[in-house]
Symmetry: C2
Subunit: 314 residues, 2 copies
């Protein structure tokens, strides 16, 4: 019987995911699937070395050799590489005259527009396309503790499901039919992560310019991050809840952000994010008054991108 | 014996703190201090009503009547009110010819420049000044579960210490001698909180513009906030650790932020914070190369405010 699962792209993340997949297939825990895992990498020596050191893995030298598989995972470095490899795969499938059902699973972080284009090309060739973004670092991939965010045709997601426990130990967040939503979601997640870095950087810098040790700022983050503050505000914003019964009024918040910006100016510490948050508070005040909770700065963000107000208070 | 502790400013926060202080004084848990708590409010009826309903509280009608106290807490709405009341207090003390040691404790969120000016005015009148910013909402004040951040003369902080457990149930973060650092710290904390709101708002908006339910974004926040991501990056930035062994390279991060901005453009969803983070990544890349962890965007923030590089990798 031909191998059923193939994996393309053996970078730091790919190696971890592929190793866990091979182990999973070998263990018999995926009903309907068996090993070995066929791996392909554009640098062939990488695939050969990986197969040599990883039980249950067979290396191949051409994309054509993964065509027989029922499920092909792809985890490549960028949109251009991902486009090229999918193109090679679909060409090889056509050249083989292959018509068996196949599912192509992109796990790389690609533009939603790229994913949309790839899904259309795959569908045209009779291949179902699932975007399955993953969250986690290479060390999390190596221990099978990623989060996987699949989106694509229901039947394809169902066929894929028995394989996900191999590497998605921290959760599977199913986003439904449209592969592009998974790609967008991954970008939102990475935006959130980069925002945490920028927020912490600006807080540490303002501290350093005002005689406050990093350790004090870190104590604040360690105390407040697990507190109800960030999720509490996020939940209430999602629900359109801007009552000051549980929040802090825009007029008080904009006073404080004004103070923060004054401190930034006096200590020559540019804080672009304080400027943006302040402007969003003023915008919200101009349109909705100053007495809503400062979570209502979401109303300015919504307004600026054309979403209607979601306020339950008005 | 004259009352030893006074409290000025009975807004939502003040009432909670004052009630817990009165209870604490009455319980005998503060060695060297006893009740009743003397309260003053610019609207006298508020103080009278509060004293009527709160055991261990005595209302007074003038600032002059708090002069005999050893410790005077003040929690007022803004810098102008705080300036006016401290001025009244110091004038009354001078008019009385009072020379007993006294400690004036500001708990309001004021500009560090205001705090500096107030501390100087107090010192000139023989009064020690402590800035003791507090974190927490009125409901946390009412249950004694605030964080208190005192800074001021060592002897004054020592004298204050037995009173803090009354209301600072979540922690006392002592910042040392300079009252202004406590005021700056409070601004950094409120900047961090407002940043969490803005980050969540932009993530929710980008989701809404790309077919992703709020609930999926909230699931992501609920999963990643308690994860090692935000604190891990913050700690490594503080330590100048930008190795990609545990992080994500600038070149990969700037590719992703480029994708995020493209998605923002394509879905007409302004994301000013993505723009800032992207520019900081490019700035870091220009000066330090693209292979450091993307936490190195802190180097751009540091550079922009005149702090030296803290990189241990270079």
């Amino acid at each position: 019987m031909a191998p059923q699962v193939a994996f393309i792209g053996l970078g730091g993340m790919g190696k971890g995911v592929a190793a866990k997949l091979a182990e999973w297939l070998g263990s018999g825990k995926a009903p309907g699937y068996s090993g070995p895992l066929v791996v392909y990498n554009r640098t062939t020596a990488t695939a050969q070395g990986f197969a040599h050191e990883t039980p249950g893995v067979t290396a191949v030298a051409t994309v054509a050799e993964v065509v027989p598989a029922k499920i092909v995972f792809s985890l490549l470095a960028n949109d251009a590489a991902a486009d090229a490899v999918l193109g090679d795969y679909l060409s090889a499938r056509a050249a083989d005259g292959a018509s068996h059902p196949a599912i192509y699973v992109n796990a790389a972080t690609l533009l939603p527009a790229t994913v949309k284009r790839q899904a259309a090309a795959a569908a045209k060739a009779g291949v179902e396309f699932v975007n399955m973004s993953v969250f986690g670092r290479p060390d999390a991939a190596a221990t099978g503790s990623l989060v996987a965010v699949p989106a694509g045709p229901a039947a394809a997601r169902q066929a894929l499901a028995p394989l996900l426990p191999a590497f998605a130990g921290r959760g599977v967040w199913d986003l439904g039919e449209d592969p592009a939503t998974s790609a967008s979601f991954k970008l939102i997640g990475n935006f959130w992560i980069s925002s945490q870095i920028e927020v912490a950087a600006e807080c540490l810098a303002l501290g350093a310019k005002n005689g406050i040790e990093d350790s004090a700022v870190l104590t604040m983050l360690e105390t407040f991050l697990p507190s109800p503050i960030p999720i509490g505000y996020a939940r209430r914003m999602g629900a359109g809840g801007y009552s000051t019964e549980t929040g802090f009024a825009i007029d008080l918040g904009s006073k404080d952000l004004g103070h923060i910006r004054a401190r930034a100016a006096d200590s020559a510490c540019p804080l672009p994010w304080a400027d943006v948050a302040y402007i969003h508070l003023l915008q919200t005040k101009a349109r909705h008054g100053g007495s809503l909770d400062w979570g209502a700065m979401f109303l300015a963000v919504r307004d600026n991108c054309g979403l209607p107000s979601n306020s339950k208070q008005e």
